[in-house]
């Protein structure tokens, strides 16, 4: 396996993701979480006093925005060093299911047919994004904050959130997908 060009198996990448938890705690007493960056962005843009949720000193939590900047730079770095337009080796059964939804191009990290500048696709992406943004604020965290950080702290609330993530995801995948695609 070539560490730079090949994808990493779960038993290498998963533990490394887990190590982000102690890394952030040790370097600055911070808890892993990505979705709060969106709240900070709103707080930075919306005039103070208008909306209670965004009425706080976002600059005091700006580390989170720098972390997100790093995420973007990480993606940029990998895109320069490696070819990300390879075929992800998903299960044959998944491929069969996706072909039914009209996916034919399996090259790259996402299906280009569905992520394309076409109004019908754009609506799915905006509405999906809306749910992620709304839901993560309502649940007070996303996959990183609840599934990784919260579960690492054995927080009961995070277990509830993760169960919710899967209830929602399973409903869309198994009941709604056939109607969208």
């Amino acid at each position: 396996m070539n560490l730079i060009t090949d994808p990493w198996p779960w038993y290498i990448s998963g533990p490394l993701i887990g190590l982000t938890v102690p890394l952030l705690l040790l370097i600055g007493n911070k808890r892993l979480g990505i979705s709060s960056s969106l709240k900070h962005l709103c707080a930075a843009c919306i005039p103070k006093g208008k909306i209670e949720l965004f009425n706080y000193d976002w600059k005091a939590q700006s580390w989170n925005l720098f972390f997100v900047l790093g995420l973007i730079l990480g993606g940029l770095t990998l895109n320069i060093l490696t070819d990300l337009d390879y075929q992800v080796s998903i299960a044959d059964s998944t491929k069969t299911d996706l072909i039914e939804f009209g996916v034919s191009d399996f090259k790259g990290l996402f299906p280009k047919e569905l992520f394309y500048w076409k109004p019908s696709n754009i609506w799915v992406l905006i509405i999906g994004g809306f749910f992620v943004g709304f839901g993560s604020r309502y649940a007070n965290g996303c996959t990183s904050g609840h599934a990784i950080m919260g579960l690492s702290l054995l927080k009961p609330g995070s277990l509830i959130a993760v169960i919710g993530f899967f209830i929602g995801g399973l409903i869309i995948t198994h009941l709604i997908y056939p109607f969208i695609y």
């Binding site: 993701i17 790093g70 730079l73 990998l78 992520f115 500048w117």
Partner: protein, 137 residues
């Protein structure tokens, strides 16, 4: 530049997310169809490492590099909003095949189309802020 360390930590996180393929729409579909162990392996092993490291921090009473006490306090769980919000998040997670961290990393990797779901994320956050008090919590 006291925030540089967070930029570097974020870069590591982004690189690992892409290398794990957790950023891939295909992997998320595979996960929600229970057709591979891959994503469960990632989340499971990440959580095991996270739990272990927090236990070690507690056991050895580790301090931050600035010698501060590490804050591991918990708030009491709020069940209603966490479950409802979680379900709504799940709707979106399956629709766009990505959660916030991966979306940022994918934009960085040059996939400009992912700015569309990110615009949705910001909109959703804003609307939640506006109607928060009318929702059950």
């Amino acid at each position: 530049m006291k925030h540089l360390k967070y930029v570097l930590a974020g870069m590591l996180f982004g690189i690992v997310l892409i290398k794990s393929e957790a950023v891939s729409w295909f992997r998320i579909q595979e996960m929600f169809r229970f057709q591979s162990f891959h994503m469960y392996g990632i989340i499971g092993s990440a959580v095991i490492v996270g739990i272990t490291s927090i236990l070690l921090i507690k056991k050895f009473n580790l301090k931050t590099f600035n010698n501060e006490k590490i804050d591991l306090s918990l708030n009491p769980p709020k069940k209603v909003n966490t479950l409802l919000g979680g379900i709504i998040f799940g709707f979106g997670w399956a629709l766009i095949g990505g959660c916030p961290g991966p979306l940022y990393a994918l934009v960085g990797a040059g996939n400009i189309i992912y700015l569309i779901p990110i615009a949705g994320l910001i909109l959703g956050t804003m609307v939640y802020g506006i109607i928060k008090n009318k929702l059950p919590h």
